[in-house]
């Protein structure tokens, strides 16, 4: 990259120390624990190395079929998620739009939904006997099987994961230099052509970051296919084999290894696309993209489209909201009767869970953006050998089932005590928090990389030639310029950590450590617990949604102050 060309070699030991620390973190909390579990894929019964299990894998028709199903679903989801996210991002960033902030916050809500709760709620709305199909059957005499099979998985995943694209694209579009648009306008580019040839290409790092995440996430996603009863995909096949009680089947781990390899390949391809292109812009904060007004017709069309999209994507939330107030809801368009008692139950015995979720997820997301920014810096601004491997290693976490990571932690840290105390590490919540940080690091990392790609290196050089040290350049120039992207990463990590379940379920060692996702799962295990479970789900959405909204406000305000200073 040209940034590297401008700064050959590495000045001082700082980058090396950062490199070492990050590598140590990844080794200790990702590679080693996972290694202790999935080495099974490479050894035979006496412990000798073998590739025989891989040969067995490729001989199985079910697995080939699963591989292509997963690939198809991942590609289709990336496409549909883009169809949802790109117009939302473009309309709200480019135009004078009432409620743009509200729309962007609402657009993030689908992520705040534990997958199995989302699927339960969606079944109530779109399922075989869901509200929509019951109404259709009553009025028109037909039903839409949108929740069935691979189509159903694609539908649910698109609704669930489009915010990855939305968040990153919005951050990227905000960073586009207004001068670029003006020049394009001067040269006669308008409308669609302006978007296609100028705006979208300039926002490419953000879009690719989001799209790559969606692709990899869906390819590796386990929860959605499982709750929808689709087993002919890779992740469920691996899960079913790993978790069969009492069977130690190496093929499960073989699938995990293959998923990791494929995820890294996808990210590498995304990086190849970006290679040799320069997305950095010089001006920041001053003049962002101009906001323009829509004509009456255009805005009616835009609002209509947005309301429609939000209605579909927020259907799971409407579903659990109804569930949380419902007495009995069975084979009917709406619940039979309503009650507040589920909230009473939840407030009586689940208060500590809210605190736990906030504590673990804020710490984990904080850790993620620190590490993410550092890795982005090392990759884009230094020449350290093998620096790209930090990215690949960290991103491998996407493809590792939570259960595997959790078993690895219990195995690796068996007998290790918390520093300065007698407490065994496996009995504390520290491991839960670290598991969140490791599993959600790829999200923060993609956002931080995209943000730094848009910052021109000459801004830092200017700071340094004015006498700023390397560290204060990072602190005073780089990080503020990357703020939008870092925030997007923080929010994604935070939100998705708040709904993590598989690792939590294994690592929680007392009920007092349990976060909200665990509580929701616990309630949802019984029929009389559905109401309280949904109520806790609603609380989770509110708490996390509020956090997201406040952080958006925070960035908007600091942006406003910067602008005011420049203009004043």
């Amino acid at each position: 990259m040209q940034a590297a060309a401008l700064r050959p070699g590495t000045a001082g030991p700082g980058p090396w120390i950062a490199f070492g620390l990050i590598l140590a973190f990844l080794l200790l909390f990702l590679i080693l624990p996972v290694g202790t579990v999935i080495y099974t894929a490479f050894v035979n019964e006496v412990g000798g190395l073998t590739l025989g299990h891989f040969a067995n894998f490729f001989g199985q028709g079910v697995f080939r079929e699963s591989f292509f199903n997963s690939l198809w679903v991942a590609l289709a989801t990336t496409f549909f998620a883009s169809v949802i996210a790109v117009p939302l991002a473009y309309l709200t960033v480019r135009f004078e739009f009432r409620g743009a902030l509200l729309i962007q916050t609402l657009g993030v809500l689908p992520l705040i939904m534990p997958p199995f709760v989302g699927a339960v709620a969606l079944q109530l709305i779109f399922g075989r006997s869901g509200s929509v199909n019951l109404l259709l059957d009553d009025w028109l005499g037909f039903t839409i099987p949108i929740m069935d099979g691979l189509v159903g998985v694609t539908f649910v995943e698109s609704i669930h994961y489009f915010p990855f694209i939305l968040l990153n694209l919005v951050a990227a579009m905000r960073n586009i230099d207004g001068a670029m648009e003006e020049s394009a306008l001067n040269l006669g580019a308008r409308g669609w052509r302006l978007f296609r040839r100028v705006i979208f290409p300039l926002a490419m790092p953000g879009y690719l970051a989001g799209a790559a995440l969606v692709f990899v996430k869906v390819f590796d996603d386990l929860g959605t296919p499982l709750v929808m009863g689709v087993t002919n995909m890779l992740a469920p096949q691996a899960y079913l084999r790993i978790t069969s009680v009492g069977v130690d089947d190496p093929l499960g781990y073989v699938i995990s290894v293959i998923m990791i390899a494929f995820s890294i390949l996808a990210l590498w391809l995304a990086a190849r696309v970006m290679k040799g292109k320069d997305y950095a812009t010089l001006q920041k904060g001053g003049s962002a993209l101009q906001k323009r007004r829509l004509t009456a017709w255009e805005s009616a069309l835009a609002y209509g489209w947005i309301v429609l999209i939000l209605l579909v994507t927020l259907a799971p939330h409407i579903g659990i909201l109804l569930m949380s107030f419902a007495k009995v809801w069975s084979f009917s368009v709406l619940p039979d009767a309503y009650t507040l008692e589920h909230y009473v139950t939840v407030f009586a015995d689940a208060n500590h869970m809210i605190g736990n979720t906030l504590l673990y997820c804020l710490l984990a997301a904080g850790l993620d953006v620190v590490i993410g920014t550092a890795i982005a810096y090392l990759i884009l601004r230094t020449q350290l050998p093998a620096r790209r491997w930090l990215d690949y290693l960290a991103s491998a976490a996407l493809a590792i089932p939570g259960l595997v990571l959790a078993i690895g932690y219990l195995r690796l840290f068996k007998g290790v005590q918390l520093p300065f105390t007698e407490t065994p590490l496996v009995g504390t919540w520290v491991l839960i928090m670290l598991a969140y940080a490791v599993r959600r690091l790829p999200y923060a990392l993609r956002s931080c990389m995209a943000a730094l790609q848009q910052v021109h290196v000459s801004l830092e050089e200017a700071a340094q030639s004015l006498g700023a040290t390397r560290l204060s350049t990072i602190r005073r120039v780089m990080v503020p310029l990357m703020a939008g992207g870092i925030l997007a990463g923080f929010v994604t990590s935070f939100i998705t950590a708040a709904v993590e379940l598989s690792a939590t379920l294994l690592l929680a060692s007392t009920e007092s450590q349990a976060p909200m996702s665990y509580g929701i799962y616990l309630y949802m295990q019984s029929i009389s617990g559905r109401g309280p479970g949904a109520a806790l789900g609603v609380l989770a959405v509110v708490v996390v949604g509020l956090g997201t909204y406040l952080s958006h406000r925070f960035v908007e305000r600091s942006r406003a102050t910067v602008q005011a200073k420049q203009e004043g």
């Binding site: 709750v227 069977v247 009920e511 029929i527 009389s528």
Partner: protein, 441 residues
């Protein structure tokens, strides 16, 4: 700033993390719903001041992994769950210790033909459960379907696409149901019945709870479930009902002391309590809805409550748990390859067979009936014969470690063969049934 904030919070966090369970706490690892565990926790703590019960809820897979990975002395004290297979696995890894003194002598030794306690004395029956059919009354009414009574009712064409079951490889309770049918009808006939019933299935779910859940909210009309999951829904006001078919077995849900537990003495007190008269009385609570192990003469049962001994007596099957254990891996693997992973093809074949049957009934045709019989035989014959499943060498293969590449290759080869054959058979059956239907014109 972020960094300093982080270190500060981390330091505070470490300080609070040091608060651990004190002595006098019994940790119970369980997969049971919150209503049940909370009821027992409250009642026991009230009766035994000074002992605290800590409930640790994990699904069965996570429970087994959790106990296996923890060092001795840090493990939870009590394991309490339905699936007998989880206890078998823990027992085979020497993770359970026997505690015969907790058993209530008033409980019978056997329910029907099924031993209440583990013959090796590692885990004990604490409550009973039977398997049966549950349905959503609104759903059946809307689709104009009759309420089923027996497994054979579920083979009828009108139930096509309305039935849900969880996969026996995922749910120990479904495995017992499947095994009950196989033992009651015999291997070949049992499989034929099962496959025909599964041809009517809308879904084969991964979690056992997904089935009653789907029936409760009306997503599925009929579910094959364990009694208390259906009864709890019924008593919570959902429009569902439940029936024990005559081909059923009553089996225990178990409780066991974990080897290397933190607090074994007080744990035993808790175990004994769950099997005592007040502990058993709790099972009758509407939101719990389980069958007790103690005879009803010692308890106050609500009127009309099912009596396990009667169900066991009525049941046509003499359940052989040894036979069930011996062919366990074959049964679950065959079910997955023939049903779970090939559900789409099996459904298509069954649909074609239903249509052909209807057409031929209206306009009989000898050649058509012949083709239809072939189609049925292709679709509903198990790929492993009754003789084969008695062959100890064949069963032994499934017991060997899959870490051995050669064994794994043999097993995956076998599964591959089943999968291919099942698919080919279902597709051929569909063709034949469609031809048969064509002849009926």
């Amino acid at each position: 700033m972020q960094r300093s904030l982080f270190t500060a919070t981390a330091a505070a966090a470490l300080a609070t993390a040091c608060l651990t369970a004190q002595a006098g706490t019994v940790t119970v690892l369980t997969s049971f719903p919150k209503e049940l565990t909370t009821a027992y926790q409250k009642a026991f703590e009230a009766a035994n001041p000074g002992i605290k019960i800590e409930i640790l809820n994990k699904n069965t897979t996570a429970s087994v992994a959790y106990v296996r990975e923890l060092p001795e002395g840090q493990r939870p004290d009590v394991m309490w769950a339905s699936a007998p297979d989880a206890f078998e696995v823990l027992s085979s890894f020497n993770l359970l210790q026997s505690a015969p003194e907790v058993v209530n002598k008033s409980a019978p030794a056997k329910i029907g033909n099924y031993p209440l306690n583990d013959p090796k004395g590692m885990y004990y029956g604490q409550a009973l459960a039977g398997y049966g059919i549950s349905w959503n009354t609104r759903y059946l009414k809307a689709h104009k379907l009759a309420e089923p009574r027996e497994w054979t009712d579920l083979l009828k064409p009108e139930y096509f696409g309305h039935i849900a079951i969880s996969s026996p490889s995922r749910s120990g309770t479904t495995q017992l149901t499947v095994e009950t049918i196989l033992q009651g009808e015999g291997w070949e006939k049992g499989w034929a019945q099962l496959l025909e019933m599964m041809g009517n299935a809308a879904a084969v779910t991964d979690r056992s709870f997904a089935v009653p859940d789907g029936v409760n909210n009306g997503q599925y009309g009929i579910g094959i479930v364990i009694d208390f999951l259906a009864l709890a829904g019924k008593y919570s006001g959902y429009p569902v009902d439940f029936v024990y078919p005559s081909m059923t077995a009553v089996v225990p849900a178990n409780i066991a002391l974990i080897a290397g537990a933190k607090n074994p003495d007080e744990a035993k007190k808790f175990m004994a309590y769950t099997m005592s008269v007040p502990g058993q009385q709790l099972l009758f609570e509407p939101k719990i809805g389980r069958l007790p192990i103690l005879p009803y003469s010692m308890l106050k049962a609500p009127a009309g409550y099912p009596v396990p001994q009667d169900i066991a007596k009525r049941a046509k099957v003499q359940f052989d748990s040894q036979l069930s254990g011996a062919r366990y891996p074959v049964v679950i693997s065959l079910f997955d390859q023939m049903v779970t992973f090939r559900l789409k093809e099996l459904q298509a074949a069954t649909k074609a067979i239903h249509e052909a049957t209807r057409a031929l009934k209206a306009k009989p045709n000898a050649r058509g009936s012949e083709l239809l019989a072939q189609a049925r035989s292709l679709a509903y014959t198990p790929l492993v014969g009754a003789e084969n499943v008695k062959n100890p060498e064949f069963l032994e293969l499934f017991r060997k470690s899959r870490r051995d590449v050669a064994v794994s290759k043999q097993l995956t080869g076998l599964e591959q063969m089943w999968a291919d054959k099942a698919r080919a058979n279902y597709e051929r059956a569909r063709d034949l049934a469609e031809q048969a239907r064509g002849l009926a014109k």
